[in-house]
């Protein structure tokens, strides 16, 4: 089991691990793919620069699933991580075992949220556009965000405060005054919509009940809402994610860097053989699916429809936020996954992302704490972390 794909010694008081989707000049960045095995970036990601400026050491790179689209990292070229027969995410496991104070991850398809929910860690996927994506390996740019996994809400808040902010090098980055909003809680969360449309196992249901009981002690009221519309986010996100992924990984053609097949006679064979050898099954499936959704024949029927669903989901959230301060939904449907789950269903990550897709597709902030996921209004990140802190303190 390989938790770290690269490790280095640090002397700073605080240290973090980066998941291997975040580019570093001094350590290889491989995106869990044979294609980028040993790839050395010429530059550091913006978050890396910001962490260094804040005297926070980077102790290494955490193993990650190929281009971070899987369940918990099981599709990594460097192997899946397990603990006691259960699949675990390398970055979450590193934090949980105290090897790092926090993990900085690229949340593409919800893996960090599933990991935090299952290992009882705190996680924040901040509002889209408040943390620079400069220097993150692109997978599904319209919804992926740099996030922070840690042991406490306060720790998440502290790290987020360091890495959030405007960056000229990211065209989707908000103005700095807007980015700063996520660092201070303006309104307290007092009324929550508890979404019931998602099917979950009994352990997960118990976590939700427990979370509800605890926060109700501090005067937060929870109201059950069916929230069926949120279920359609998954299908739309799978389309958008696959399409963007297909396009983003098309640069890995064996020409400039990365894996190149040794056997080929034509340029077409060079492309095909290199990519066939270096990409894993799940990624290949996503590439084919994504390519198909963007074809002239299917663009309007599939891709454009997914864009419309994105709007429908966003509008549904807006509607909920008229009445509630935040929306509570599971981070994943099960309290753990085993390798057998993946053997039985290769595409399980395209189904289990049902709980994470609503926040991915809308760019809304999501916090995982106590095994549940709370999605808030745009820029309400600090408020969500406050709620996580209330939970940590047992509702006091």
């Amino acid at each position: 089991m390989k938790l770290f794909t690269a490790e280095t010694e640090v002397k700073t008081q605080k240290k973090v691990v980066l998941d291997d989707m975040i580019l570093t000049k001094d350590l290889p960045t491989c995106a869990g793919s044979k294609m980028l095995d040993g790839y050395m970036s010429l530059f550091d990601a913006q978050v890396v620069t910001k962490l260094s400026e804040a005297q926070i050491g980077i102790c290494g790179k955490a193993n990650v699933g190929e281009f971070a689209i899987d369940l918990l990292g099981e599709t990594s070229y460097y192997g899946a991580c397990t603990n006691d027969g259960k699949l675990v995410s390398a970055s979450a496991e590193i934090v949980k075992t105290g090897k790092a104070d926090a993990a900085i991850v690229l949340d593409v398809n919800g893996a960090p949220r599933r990991a935090a929910a299952q290992s009882d860690l705190v996680y924040i996927k901040p509002t889209y556009g408040t943390v620079s994506r400069y220097g993150t390996i692109p997978a599904a740019c319209s919804g992926e965000t740099v996030g922070v996994i840690s042991t406490t809400a306060n720790q998440c808040k502290e790290i987020l405060g360091i890495i959030a902010g405007h960056d000229d090098k990211d065209g989707t980055s908000h103005a700095d005054t807007v980015c700063q909003k996520i660092k201070t809680s303006s309104e307290k969360i007092t009324k929550i919509a508890l979404i019931s449309a998602f099917n979950v196992d009994s352990d997960t249901a118990a976590k939700i009940d427990n979370f509800k009981t605890v926060i109700e002690k501090s005067g937060v009221s929870c109201h059950t809402v069916e929230g069926e519309k949120l279920l359609c986010a998954r299908v739309a996100w799978n389309i958008l994610m696959s399409a963007e992924l297909c396009n983003n990984v098309s640069r890995y053609d064996g020409i400039k860097y990365g894996h190149r097949a040794s056997e080929y006679t034509t340029i077409g064979e060079l492309y095909t053989n290199s990519r066939t050898e270096a990409f894993g099954d799940l990624l290949k499936t996503a590439i084919l699916y994504g390519s198909d959704t963007l074809s002239t024949e299917n663009y309007m029927k599939v891709y454009d429809k997914a864009l419309r669903i994105r709007r429908v989901v966003a509008e549904y959230f807006d509607e909920l936020f008229k009445e509630y301060d935040a929306v509570l939904l599971p981070g994943c449907s099960k309290s753990f996954y085993t390798e057998k789950d993946i053997e039985t269903n290769k595409y399980i990550s395209f189904e289990e992302n049902a709980c994470t897709a609503p926040a991915s597709i809308t760019g809304l902030p999501a916090v995982v704490a106590g095994g549940v996921q709370i999605v808030g209004k745009a820029f309400s990140d600090a408020g969500l972390l406050d709620l996580a802190e209330i939970y940590e303190k047992g509702g006091k």
Binding site: F43, P138, G171, T172, S250, I267, L294
Partner: protein, 478 residues
């Protein structure tokens, strides 16, 4: 049967920006291979596109010169295809909402004036260049040109002959150079043209089978290619020599023939979709107006104005061919108020220097105001014309030169000190008694020899008329 030709053009123009469209690498032509590259424009992961605002300025300017509607919200899209010169395997272009639509370009041919409709103008990035080395049987790629900003100007199929196509391209080039959108140098590839051509029986309103010739980069080759294609199409229809199919063809100018490109190179689904990393660009009134207000008048309007200022048709035409000459002329005229003098200096003296330096007119970097000051000095007789030319040459090398100060520092100020001039004249007369005698015996040319010697001795710093008068006086007195 009589046939008519239907032609539509897609013209790619590299924009005259300092840097590339999404990164800060130089967009200049030339340089060593892979000199102008960074992780972004050679397709490494992690860099995000940040739109160069000047590209949008120039895209708008091109549209305004061609009477287009400017879309106030414009977006970028990704076009996917695999080729080693395309480092990301996608090109960022505008598919769903191009910056300009619905324009016109008026051309003039032997048959008179005609409006050609412009369908749209979109912005996009260029691809790199493959260099094939037959010796080692390898292909190398040069990314200097990747992400250099381009606009593609798409016309409606309103053109009907090679003559019209040439007129269209020349007019387009002239207007875009004028608006400083591009240098439009076909030989450097900063202007390239795809020709879509079909023929149909005269009077028919049904379009025939269309073929496309890609990447034409010389006007004379385009003429030859069109003539060849038209006769090939007619031959196919009349004599059944071949079946016409819609396809992309390559023009071989040496063989004088077009060839069908292998289907593999051209077919394919580009899978366009909006680029999520580039936010929609919103052009507000302030931005729109700043571009609009900076646009030059059309060349023919300038020409008419210059003629009104008293210039000949020829001189006015010469000046209005280049925006650099126009700008220099207008600024100099503001200062010295003599159109004729400025035109002379620009067309003969300045152009001589430009030619000597093997520049193009558009490389003229002279400050028009300084030129005007220089011309004033010469017109007022404060600096001799020959010395004026010397100052002009210095101004080409250093545009910060103030002609008045430079003249003083270098002893180019005309002296009207009669006693000094007379002493020089006497000296010269003493050295060249023969010319003095010759002149007295009626040989007019001898006076010029003496005049020249005096002027040289005075280093040109003398009013020629004054010198001549004093010289004649002295000879007569002697």
């Amino acid at each position: 049967m009589k046939y008519e030709t239907v032609i539509g053009l897609e013209v790619h123009i590299e924009l005259a920006t300092e840097s590339k469209i999404f990164c800060s690498c130089s967009a200049k032509f030339g340089g060593e291979q892979n000199d102008h590259v960074c992780p972004a424009c050679c397709g490494m992961p992690g860099m995000l596109p940040v739109v160069n605002k000047h590209v949008v300025d120039l895209g708008m300017a091109a549209g305004m010169m061609l009477n287009c509607h400017i879309n106030r919200t414009t977006t970028f899209d990704k076009k996917s295809y695999y080729y080693p010169d395309l480092p990301c395997s996608y090109q960022t272009t505008q598919w769903f909402s191009p910056i300009c639509v619905n324009g016109t370009l008026q051309i003039e041919t032997s048959k008179g004036k005609k409006d050609i409709r412009i369908k749209q103008i979109h912005m996009e990035e260029d691809a790199g260049k493959l260099v094939h080395d037959d010796w080692t049987n390898t292909s190398l790629v040069d990314f200097n040109r990747t992400s250099v900003p381009l606009i593609e100007i798409v016309s409606q199929p309103d053109l009907s002959s090679a003559e019209e196509v040439v007129a269209y391209l020349e007019r387009l080039r002239s207007l875009l150079r004028f608006a400083k959108v591009s240098e439009c140098r076909m030989e450097q590839g900063s202007m390239r043209c795809d020709v879509n051509l079909s023929i149909r029986p005269e009077g028919s309103d049904k379009l025939g089978v269309r073929t496309e010739m890609k990447n034409m980069n010389s006007i004379s080759a385009i003429t030859r290619a069109i003539e060849y294609e038209v006769s090939r199409h007619i031959d196919a229809l009349e004599n059944g020599t071949e079946e016409l199919v819609q396809e992309t063809r390559r023009w071989d100018d040496i063989k004088g023939k077009s060839f069908a490109m292998r289907n593999k190179e051209t077919a394919g689904d580009y899978r366009y979709f909006p680029d999520p990393n580039v936010m929609p660009i919103v052009i507000d009134d302030e931005w729109f107006d700043s571009v609009k207000n900076a646009l030059p008048e059309f060349p023919e309007i300038k020409k008419a104005k210059y003629i009104e200022l008293g210039l000949s048709e020829y001189d006015a035409g010469m000046l209005s061919e280049s925006i650099s000459l126009c700008e220099c002329f207008e600024a100099a005229y503001e200062v010295c108020k003599s159109a004729k003098e400025v035109a002379n200096w620009l067309i003969s003296d300045c152009m001589n220097i430009v030619n000597k330096k093997q520049w193009t007119v558009d490389m003229l970097n002279l400050d028009g105001k300084s030129l005007g000051m220089l011309i004033s000095l010469v017109m007022e007789g404060k600096v001799g014309r020959t010395n004026g030319k010397k100052i002009l040459e210095a101004m080409f090398d250093d545009s910060s030169i103030n002609p008045g100060e430079y003249a003083e520092q270098n002893g180019f100020i005309v002296s009207n000190d009669t006693s000094l001039i007379e002493s020089v004249i006497k000296e010269v007369m003493a050295q060249d008694e023969k010319s003095v005698t010759d002149y007295k015996n009626g040989k007019e040319k001898a006076l010029m020899a003496l005049f020249g010697k005096c002027m040289r001795q005075l280093k040109g710093n003398c009013d020629p008329q004054l010198l001549q008068k004093l010289l004649i006086d002295c000879i007569n007195k002697a």
